[in-house]
């Protein structure tokens, strides 16, 4: 297990997440893509932290990100619920009322 492989895994995961965010119309799916991106980042944090430094900064940051991701999921899901109850859909394309 080397840093390169971990980084490749993280990059692949990131690309998957990005692809999900860009292509999915469903808000929940987009949120899931964001989770993938966040986790790819987490892998990077932990990998760099493990291989390049001997302090636990990266791991601690990854824990923070996980917590933030949880909070973010909670808030986002709440927004989607409100959105659904107002517009009857969670399609992100339909949420374009602020468009000029």
């Amino acid at each position: 297990m080397t840093l390169d492989k971990l980084l490749i895994i993280a990059a692949a995961l990131f690309c998957c997440g990005l692809y999900t965010v860009m292509t999915r119309r469903n808000a929940v799916a987009v949120l899931m893509g964001v989770e993938l991106i966040l986790n790819a980042t987490n892998i990077n944090f932990v990998a760099f932290s493990f291989f390049l430094t001997r302090v636990m900064g990266g791991q601690i940051f990854a824990v923070f990100v996980i917590v933030l991701a949880a909070a973010e999921a909670a808030v986002a899901l709440a927004i989607f619920l409100r959105m659904f109850s107002t517009t009857g859909t969670v399609e992100v394309d339909s949420a374009d009322q602020l468009k000029g």
Partner: protein, 724 residues
């Protein structure tokens, strides 16, 4: 007493302020206050005159100066009082006449709605006149000069509801302004050259030669212009007859006795500064006035107008007397005239009060109804006609003597006209004054209604008449006046001489040939002035010797002064003798003629008037002076005003309007600039903003994956840039 002389003018000023403020609420409307203050002034004047008379010194002078306007520690203008013999006499004259006029007015103005204001005005006049008399500098005499002009204006127009009265007030004021302008120029010339304005300082400066030659003559003529206006001399005499619109006591006080004499007093006051040329100028104006106004008086029918023109004429006598070198003569006539002319005016006031008319053709026979007025009027008339024993004889005779002496000494035969004109006019004076007396008091009453209502005036009115008539006898004046009032040395003659030259005693002056000739003649009792008189005309500053030689026609040459002095004295004596006889003869002739025409009926005046109708009309219309001034001066200034108005309306207003239109046009341009350029820029910016916004808004699709795609693409681009 003389130390408190400065109080005299301030007393009437005090009563003026009190009366103008609260006069209506005072008991008797405050007339007692004004009368009281002027009476105190009279008492003090008598005291001063007594002191001066005790001294009996021709050179008596009491002169107090203190700085009035100081800049730094340099006194620019001084104020103070100067009392010499002339001032003491004038003080007495002014206060006596003023007091009597106050007294007379109590009866005359009784029941007038503005009674208290009238007395306040009399007080301000008394203040100004006394200030004028006591002033010791050109500045202060000018200030008081204008103040008497103001009070004259106020009192002429006192019954301002009458249009003629308010017009007369304005006329008097405006005509006087013309003369005062000349006076001011004279003062300015003096101040510009000498730098001082006190009489003594100015005379000293002229003596040092700071002001001489033509400029000195001009300054003298300028100062005399003031006298022309105030004393109603020839070109500006037109205001005085119109001034008779004022209450009669005012005419007596201001327009007969005191204010109009101020011009004569001024000429006497600044006598040393006149040059021979200026004297000749003065004499000519006096002569023209005395003749011209006397002829007008012949044909007037208004009792006050006759007296007004006679006042002009008598003032002409005084001015001419001063001009021909009769200093004492002119001032003596001023003094005597004040008494008898005030008496005549107050007498006419008494008559007008009785018959309510001023037309002598409606009167007649009043001597039975108004005996006191008649007798006093007659005495004053005898005095003005120059009948021996009366004051007018004494002073007019001196003037005629001085004129004759001047004419005899002058090489120019034309100068005899001063004597001839004055003598002829003396006859005219006697004639028109007796015409007035006869038509008013003698004969049968012409208007019975008015005659029946006539009555003698109350004591407050006849007491002043009696006092003034009493003062119309020559016994009061002869002797001391000639001794105390003597001609001052002319400083114009001294100009150029060293200031430290010792004063030459008169006895020795004759042997010191180049001494100023004003000193040369010995003093002769009785007519001292005239003997010293015109000799000053012949002398001039050594610096202007060629000029003086040209003027020597007036007098003697420099050598042989001793012989000339004797000759002069002899000449003066002869002149006065001739003048006396001829004036008595002419006066008697005039009186006799008046009786012939108006009383005995030997000559019918109407037939004479018809025979010389153009001349009679000419005189009755006052030589058409008013018409002349109406067409020239008044219409001229109106035309000028119209021209200026046209200029104002068309050129000045045109310019203003043009400027306005330019402004409008410019504003239009600026408005357009604002509309198109400034607003265009603002709107352009706005539309550019909206335009660009409407283009750029397309970028904001609202599609989430677009944003993410751009985000990711951007990241890739950044990565690629960093990588290579």
């Amino acid at each position: 007493m003389i130390r408190y002389a400065y109080i005299i003018p301030f007393l009437p000023l005090l009563s003026f302020f009190i009366n103008i403020a609260v006069g209506k609420r005072l008991p008797r409307k405050g007339d007692w206050l004004c009368l009281g203050t002027i009476a105190i002034g009279l008492a003090m004047s008598i005291g001063i005159f007594y002191e001066v008379f005790q001294a009996y010194d021709p050179n008596f002078r009491y002169h107090v100066v203190f700085p009035w306007l100081t800049v730094g520690d340099r006194a620019l203008f001084n104020t103070g009082i100067l009392i010499d013999n002339v001032t003491a006499v004038m003080l007495l004259v002014v206060t006596i006449v003023s007091t009597l006029v106050h007294l007379f007015s109590i009866g005359y103005m009784h029941g007038d709605p503005r009674y208290s204001r009238y007395f306040a005005y009399l007080s301000i006049f008394s203040f100004s006149m006394l200030g004028l008399v006591l002033a010791e500098s050109f500045l202060f005499i000018y200030i008081f000069w204008e103040l008497v002009g103001l009070s004259s204006y106020l009192l002429i127009g006192f019954w301002f509801e009458k249009k003629s009265a308010s017009d007369a007030g304005k006329k008097a004021f405006i005509v006087n302004r013309v003369g005062d302008f000349g006076f001011l120029i004279g003062i300015l010339i003096i101040y510009a050259t000498c730098g001082v304005l006190g009489y003594d300082q100015v005379f000293l400066a002229i003596g040092e030669g700071k002001l001489s030659g033509t400029l000195l003559t001009l300054a003298g003529i300028g100062v005399f212009c003031g006298a022309i206006g105030k004393s109603a001399q020839f070109p500006l005499h037109v205001w005085l007859p119109d001034a008779m619109e004022g209450p009669t006591p005012v005419s007596a006080l201001i327009h007969a006795a005191t204010m109009v004499a101020a011009g004569v007093y001024l000429v006497g006051r600044v006598y040393p500064m006149f040059t021979p040329d200026a004297f000749l100028f003065i004499a000519w104006f006096g002569l023209i006035t005395l003749f011209l106004t006397a002829t007008i008086a012949l044909a007037q029918n208004d009792i006050k107008k006759v007296l007004a023109y006679s006042t002009c004429s008598q003032l002409g006598y005084m001015i001419m007397g001063l001009g021909v070198g009769g200093y004492t003569a002119g001032l003596a006539h001023l003094t005597t005239h004040a008494a008898f002319k005030a008496c005549l005016f107050l007498g006419s006031g008494s008559v007008i009060h009785a018959v309510h008319s001023q037309d002598i053709q409606e009167m007649g026979g009043l001597r039975k109804k108004m005996p006191i007025t008649f007798v006093t009027f007659l005495i004053a008339t005898l005095a003005i006609s120059g009948v021996p024993g009366f004051s007018g004889f004494y002073s007019k005779d001196m003037i005629l003597g001085a004129a004759l002496e001047f004419g005899m000494k002058s090489g120019n035969p034309l100068h005899m006209i001063f004597f001839i004109g004055a003598l002829f006019t003396a006859g005219l004076t006697a004639f028109y004054m007796f015409r007035l007396v006869i038509l008013t008091f003698f004969g049968a009453p012409k208007d019975h209604h008015k005659f029946d209502h006539a009555h003698e005036s109350p004591p407050s009115m006849w007491v002043p008449l009696v006092i003034l008539a009493g003062l119309s006898f020559s016994i009061w004046y002869s002797g001391w006046f000639g001794t105390l009032v003597q001609k001052p040395k002319s400083v114009a003659d001294l100009a150029g001489m060293s200031a430290s030259a010792p004063v030459v005693p008169m006895e020795h002056a004759a042997v010191m040939a180049p001494a100023p000739h004003a000193e040369a003649a010995p003093v002769k009792e009785g007519a001292p002035d005239a003997s010293r008189g015109p000799s000053s005309h012949g002398t001039s500053a050594p610096a202007e010797t060629p000029h003086a030689a040209g003027l020597a026609v007036h007098g003697e040459s420099h050598e042989g002064a001793s012989r000339d002095a004797e000759h002069d004295a002899h000449l003066a004596h002869t002149a006065h003798t001739y003048a006396m006889y001829s004036s008595v003869a002419v006066g008697t002739l005039g009186i006799f003629l008046a009786f012939m025409v108006y009383s005995f009926g030997w000559i019918n005046p109407d037939r004479v008037a018809n025979a010389v109708k153009p001349l009679h009309n000419f005189l009755q219309n006052k030589w058409y002076f008013d018409e002349l001034y109406e067409t020239t001066v008044v219409n001229g200034s109106k035309a000028l005003s119209r021209g200026l108005a046209w200029f104002d309306m068309h050129v000045v207003d045109g310019l203003v309007n043009l400027t306005a239109q330019l402004g409008v046009f410019l504003s239009f341009l600026v408005g357009k600039f604002d509309d198109y350029v400034v607003d265009g820029a603002v709107n352009g910016l706005a539309s550019a903003t909206t335009g660009s916004g409407s283009i750029l808004r397309r970028l904001q699709t609202g599609k989430l994956y677009h944003y993410v795609f751009v985000l990711a693409g951007g990241a890739v681009v950044i990565f690629l840039i960093k990588a290579f």
